[in-house]
Symmetry: C2
Subunit: 463 residues, 2 copies
């Protein structure tokens, strides 16, 4: 499907311009449509909307939804466009509702909370919280918007300590498909007041309502931070050490795995001479006394798993250098596979299953004659195989798709999930059927309850 | 309404006995009906079911729901009966479905997880996890069942560090009203696979489905634990110190407030001579080095807020003694008010609002001529006013109800919630209307979707 497919987009655009009252904020320019319909990964085609509306307020959102209902036009919420599964693409055309203009930030330092417009980006929030010695730790890598992060339940390297968006969203303001504005949760860190509908919108990828405002937990920036690089004799030892470490309750903030072949690619890319071993990259944070104690305990623990060369530093520059191999893993893999596109996986398994799951994935990838980098949020059991694929080589593309499917089936057999953090979007609808076939009728029922006309982000999560 | 009200409970009982195949597990004995319909608090009347079924398996639950549909009989899930808002009472008669026979415990220590039957109690789980050096920290006080704790989103003293049930339930097995069995989540610590329906059942108080199995996060038992008692010059200083402490990211596991008048009642009850000041009771856990560092940092911090006599100990007996005033606060309040019943509140506010909220509550209570104890999970902003009421004194009861309503309205005005942890049940339906009137139509829609005949715990959360 392509742009302009919606029955009478001309009339829709005219009505939107009248309602928004500012023609510059209702765009049908080719470049704007293209940037709002461009997939991040090479495994799905472009899917531009018919029109992009740049909202500046909740009232704009209410007005757009009224016209979408009237015209029967799809509405796709758009933030940074950094969703990896096509969450913000418009495969059925319609309106891309750009929320980056909802950029209000309110910090309540005494409550360790922020209330932000859906369009506020992670880095903008970071600047605002930093002034108060606070931070919002959920870090998916991209400079995503908080609305998008809530809508996709984003997570990342710090989830082992701070959880995903699901654990950090205290309240939402949501505009429903019928135009009603509702508020979930409260400004408290806990509540047991009726059904927790906020958690229904978190991770719903814009299919149940448009999130316009998010209330978030904040945390004190740790007084003292230590970064650690630890090579291990094999992947099993590294994963077991990580699980043991998490079990001790030490103050680990990040706990990342990079496999040996990826370290080799990093060495080639950066001209470094790291031992070509599987590595854990760790970060600890808290009071100086607490962190130093925890790092000492970690050094002893890692030695039990065969790590004899643990490097640790609290100095900022040295921390960056210690972690450089983790930061550069994706670039190094791309560099080692120039001209290729990256096909990612996002499975998550119980941590005890991680060594087996990663070994199985490595075996599949090798047997299929593919190159891949494997990195993992190992404290959570979430790992990504980044398979380098020549997009013009149909056979290679088919093999990569097949390997991805096998990795997902293997993860499900281990009690895992097809998506640890990237969501379902357009890319994993088939996998969701396998994983939660029993729940899909309920998901559909809830979708019909909240969006009977099906105008909110159609063609995502399930058909 | 009273027991036996259901249209033809005789036929229902006969059918249940035939389906369960063990007459001893289908009871209409007066004492069994009474214990399954007895309120914990004095502010609601007894509400026994017509019949109690003691389930031993998911299949029993499926069979009971089939007969409930056929007979149009209410089904009320029952665990320990420790819900404070009448969650497990049967105001419309019908079947009390006792799930304590679902007592299977599976610990997966390498994954820091347990999968337990809904009827497993907190203390039984504690014994099972302890063998592996692990614990499940959510602690509502009572020896509740894990199914009941999930159904009511229980929390308590450790929530400041570990969150409520909502943050610790990874997956559920649920029998729906129509008999379908569904599984939410997975055995991973995070997932972004479609709508998170598990969070809809957590806190739904048995109105959307019967939870039969719960998969939980476990944590390593901290290697080193230190208990702290810290008196402060006033409640504002104590609350500000608590908020500052949480913001530092130190390893505080519990952070409890007890007000000065309650300390006086404790002194009278225990014959102790604690300073009649507002107190914080704290507990720290982690590695020895980490905890000792954090306690030192806390001592410095508390001094900034006027605490000059912070007592700390890591020895078990001394820890019990330091915390005795917190543990005995309820008994001491009851002892000081013999013959009276306790009317509790459960409001939660942003931590910065806690000093004002508690002062306001104290003022209301005094103005109404009532006695009350105030204790709080201060790290979370959740506090309980335990008002001592003579249940035979209609005027006193009316004043207590009025004060409770004013405390709730005040909390809502401060961005808080009517229920931090006890749920809505039968006791707070009116408050839920005030707090989330905009969401109640959605809650009703979801209820109708999942339980169109209204057989699951009718008369709870909303009418």
């Amino acid at each position: 499907m392509t742009a302009g497919q919606h029955a009478d987009s001309g009339a829709l655009v005219a009505d939107l311009q009248a309602a928004i009252g500012d023609a510059r904020r209702v765009s049908t320019s080719e470049s704007v449509l293209r940037t709002h319909g461009e997939p991040l990964m090479a495994d799905m085609p472009p899917a531009p909307p018919d029109v992009v509306v740049f909202a500046r307020s909740r009232d704009d959102v209410v007005a757009v939804l009224a016209l979408a209902r009237e015209h029967g036009a799809p509405v796709v919420a758009f933030g940074a466009g950094s969703g990896l599964e096509g969450e913000s693409l418009a495969p059925r055309g319609g309106i891309s509702l750009d929320l980056t203009g909802l950029d209000r930030i309110e910090i309540r330092p005494a409550d360790l909370q922020a209330t932000v417009g859906a369009g506020v980006t992670r880095k903008a929030l970071d600047r605002a919280t930093g002034e108060h010695g606070l931070w919002f730790p959920v870090d998916p890598g991209a400079d995503a918007t908080l609305g998008g992060m809530a809508a996709t339940n984003a997570s990342g390297t710090t989830t082992v300590r701070y959880g995903s968006m699901r654990q950090n969203v205290l309240g939402l303001e949501v505009v429903l498909a019928d135009g009603r504005v509702v508020r979930t949760g409260s400004r408290t860190v806990k509540t047991s007041a009726g059904y927790e509908l906020g958690q229904l919108f978190v991770g719903s990828e814009g299919t149940l309502g448009i999130i316009t405002e998010v209330t978030l937990r904040l945390y004190g920036i740790p007084e003292h931070v230590v970064a650690v690089r630890a090579p291990f004799p094999d992947i099993e030892a590294a994963c077991r050490c990580a699980a043991a470490l998490v079990a001790t309750g030490v103050s680990v903030i990040r706990c990342e795995l990079v496999d040996a072949s990826t370290i080799e690619m990093v060495n080639a890319y950066r001209g470094t001479r790291l031992p070509a071993d599987v590595h854990l990259f760790l970060e600890f944070g808290g009071s100086r006394e607490g962190v130093e104690g925890d790092v000492a305990a970690t050094r002893d623990l890692a030695a039990e798993f065969g790590c004899t060369d643990l490097q640790a530093s609290s100095a900022w520059a040295e921390r960056q250098e210690l972690w450089a191999a983790r930061h550069d893993a994706l670039y190094a893999t791309q560099h080692a596979n120039l001209g290729k596109a990256m096909f990612g996986t996002d499975t998550c398994v119980p941590v005890s299953e991680l060594p087996g799951a990663v070994a199985y994935a490595r075996g599949l990838i090798a047997a299929a004659g593919l190159e891949a980098s494997i990195v993992g949020h190992v404290g959570d059991g979430n790992y990504h195989a980044l398979i380098a694929v020549d997009p013009r080589d149909e056979d290679e593309v088919a093999r990569a798709h097949a390997v991805r499917g096998q990795i997902v089936r293997d993860a499900l057999a281990r009690g895992g999930t097809c998506s640890g953090e990237h969501g379902i979007g357009m890319g994993k609808m088939g996998y969701l059927e396998i994983e939660h076939g029993d729940l899909i009728p309920l998901m559909r029922g809830i979708k019909e309850l909240l969006d009977p006309a099906g105008i909110l982000n159609p063609g995502k999560i399930f058909d």
